[in-house]
Subunit: 317 residues, 2 copies
C-alpha cells in the first residue's frame, strides 16, 4: 500500500474543506505553567462527529470514483470511524454498511443510524468483525474503507496537523495519539512536508503500548486485548502507518492510566473542553515527560470528545 505524498494531503484538504470544520487552536496559560512549555491544542473534539475521523472518512469517500462509490461503502468499527463513514456516505448520497460488535454502546449505534448508516451486528472479536464485513461486502458490493490501512484515510487525517501548522508555523514538536496510527502517520507526513524544524511524537497509553514496542523492535507487535480507559487506542498499529512512522523516525511516549485520567480532567476543568480519554493522552504524556517538552512550542492534537457522560472515569474509580 502506497504512502500518501504531501500533495495528496494538500488535495485532501481542498476536497474535504466544505464538509468538515476548521477546528480552533486554543491555548491555556494554566496548563502551560504546569507543563513548562507552550501548548497549542488543535481541537478535533470540536470536529464533525466529535473526532478527527471525519477528515479521513470524508476524504476516502469523496476520492472514490462514481463506479467505486455506487454500491456504497462499508467498514467495521465500534467507534468514531463508523459515524464518520456513515456521515461521509450520506454526503455523497450512497449507503454505508457498518459492522459493529453487538456489545457496542447504544449511543454509538444511534450515531451511525442517525446518519442513515445500516448497522450489522457481529461477534466482539477481530475474527467476528472481519467475517461479518466480508459477508456484507460480498452481498452489497460496497467499497471497504478501512479506518487506517487506507492512503486516502491517512491523507485526510493529516489535514488536522496541516491546519495546526498553518496557524502556528514555528512549532518545535507536534504530539498526537496513536491507536491504529492513521492520525499519527498523517501528522508525520504533513510535518515532514511543510516544516523542517518540527518533530513528531506519538502518545500512547502505557497499558496499550504496542506502537511504541513495534517501532522499537522494527516489527508490528499485536496489541492483544489491552485494558485502558483510552478506548480509541486499543487497536494494533496498522501496516501502512507503521511503515510511515518507521520511515519518518517517529518515536512514541507513554502515560499511565492515572496520568491519562488526570490530564482528561485537567482539560475539562481548565479549558472547559469535553475531551475523551484517548484525546487526553497527548497532554498526559507532556505532563509525564516534562523534560522532553520543557521550553518548547508544542502542538497537541486533541483527537476527539465522544464520551459517555454517565460513566466518567473519575466517577467510576
Amino acid at each position: 500500500m502506497k504512502s500518501p505524498a504531501i500533495s495528496d494531503i494538500l488535495a485532501a484538504a481542498e476536497r474535504i474543506r466544505p464538509y468538515v470544520h476548521r477546528t480552533p487552536v486554543v491555548t491555556c496559560s494554566g496548563l502551560d505553567r504546569l507543563a513548562g512549555a507552550r501548548l497549542h491544542f488543535k481541537c478535533e473534539n470540536l470536529q464533525m462527529v466529535g473526532a478527527f475521523k471525519a477528515r479521513g472518512a470524508t476524504n476516502a469517500v469523496l476520492s472514490l470514483t462514481d463506479e467505486e462509490a455506487r454500491r456504497g461503502v462499508a467498514t467495521h468499527s465500534s467507534g468514531n470511524h463508523a459515524a464518520a463513514l456513515a456521515r461521509a456516505a450520506k454526503l455523497r448520497g450512497v449507503p454505508a454498511y457498518i459492522v459493529m460488535p453487538a456489545s457496542a454502546p447504544p449511543v454509538k449505534r444511534r450515531a451511525v443510524e442517525g446518519y442513515g448508516g445500516v448497522v450489522t451486528d457481529c461477534e466482539p472479536t477481530q475474527a467476528g468483525r472481519e467475517s461479518a464485513l466480508a459477508e456484507v461486502v460480498a452481498a452489497t458490493g460496497a467499497a471497504f474503507i478501512h479506518p487506517y490501512e487506507n492512503p486516502s484515510v491517512v491523507a485526510g487525517q493529516g489535514t488536522a496537523a496541516l491546519e495546526l501548522l498553518e496557524e502556528v508555523p514555528d512549532l518545535d514538536l507536534v504530539i498526537a495519539p496513536v491507536g491504529g496510527g492513521g492520525l499519527l502517520s498523517g501528522t508525520a507526513l504533513v510535518v515532514a512536508g511543510v516544516s523542517t524544524r518540527t518533530r513528531v511524537v506519538g502518545a500512547e497509553p502505557a497499558a496499550a503500548d504496542d506502537a511504541r514496542r513495534s517501532l522499537e523492535l522494527g516489527r508490528i507487535v499485536p496489541a492483544g486485548n489491552p485494558q485502558t480507559v483510552a478506548d480509541g487506542l486499543r487497536t494494533t498499529l496498522g501496516e501502512l502507518p507503521f511503515a510511515i512512522l518507521r520511515e519518518r523516525g517517529v518515536s512514541v511516549l507513554t502515560a499511565t492510566e492515572e496520568e491519562i485520567i488526570v490530564a482528561m480532567r485537567l482539560t475539562w476543568e481548565r479549558m472547559k473542553l469535553v475531551v475523551e480519554p484517548s484525546g487526553a493522552v497527548p497532554l498526559a504524556v507532556v505532563l509525564a515527560h516534562r523534560e522532553v517538552f520543557a521550553g518548547l512550542e508544542v502542538g497537541v492534537v486533541i483527537s476527539g470528545g465522544n464520551v459517555d457522560l454517565d460513566r466518567l472515569p473519575w466517577s467510576i474509580r
Copy 2:
C-alpha cells in the same frame, strides 16, 4: 446609581482588551435543528476565570483612580465574581479581600487564593456577608466592588455582547441569563446602542424567577432562598440592572430544572463544551419556548463553565 452609556461600554472594551479573552462564537447544526433557529453561542465559559465575570471585575478595578485602588478592593461572593476580582486586583498590583461563606466549596476558595486574594469567612446569609464585608472595608480601606450594583461592572459585562454583535451583526435576538442582572443589563445597553433590529431576552430558572416577576410587577421582588441547580442565578435582581432592564423593556423567559439539566448535557454532548448549569439556562429557554425563537438568528450567551466534575446534576439525580 447612573446607568453606563454605550460610550462607557466601548471604553471598557478598550480598557480590558489586553487582560481578557475575545471568546469564540460557535454554532452547532444539531442544536439548530433541535431549536428550529440559528444559534450563535458566545462562549464565556472559555473566558479567563471560566466566566464573563472577568470582564466586569477587570473593568471596575482598572477604572479606579490610583487613590481609590491603593488600599485594595473587596467584595462578598462565593462564586465567579470573587475569582475575577482577585485576578483583576493582581493585575493592578493591589490586594483583594474576599468575604466568602464558610460553606463555600474549597475549590472556589482555592481559586481566589490562587490569584492572591485574601479570604475572610462569614455566615452563609446575606446579613452575614454584609456585616463581614463592612468590617473588612473598615479595617482595610479597600474599595467595595459589588458584583452588579456598579456601573463599571455592568459596562464590562456588556463587552461580551459587543463582541458577539461585531462577529454576527444581524442577530434578531440575544438571550443571556439573569441572576443579579449585571450581564443581562450590560447586554441590553449594548444592543440598544449598536443595533436597531436586535431584541434582548433574559433567561431564568422557573424556580428562581424573581427577575421575571420583578419586571412584570414593576418593583424588585426578593428571590428568597430559591432551590435551583443554576447556582449562579439564585441572587435577587439588583436595583441598577432592574432600572436598565425596565427602561429597555427587556422581558424574561424561564425554564424548569429538568430543562436546564437537559440543555446543559446537550451542550456537553453536542458542542463538547463544559458549561455550568447557569450557563445552560439560555439554551434551555430557547428549547422550551421554540415558538418565540423559530426561524430567528439568536445570540446565546454561555455565561460560564465552572462546575464540580464530581457532582454533575445528571449523576446526582
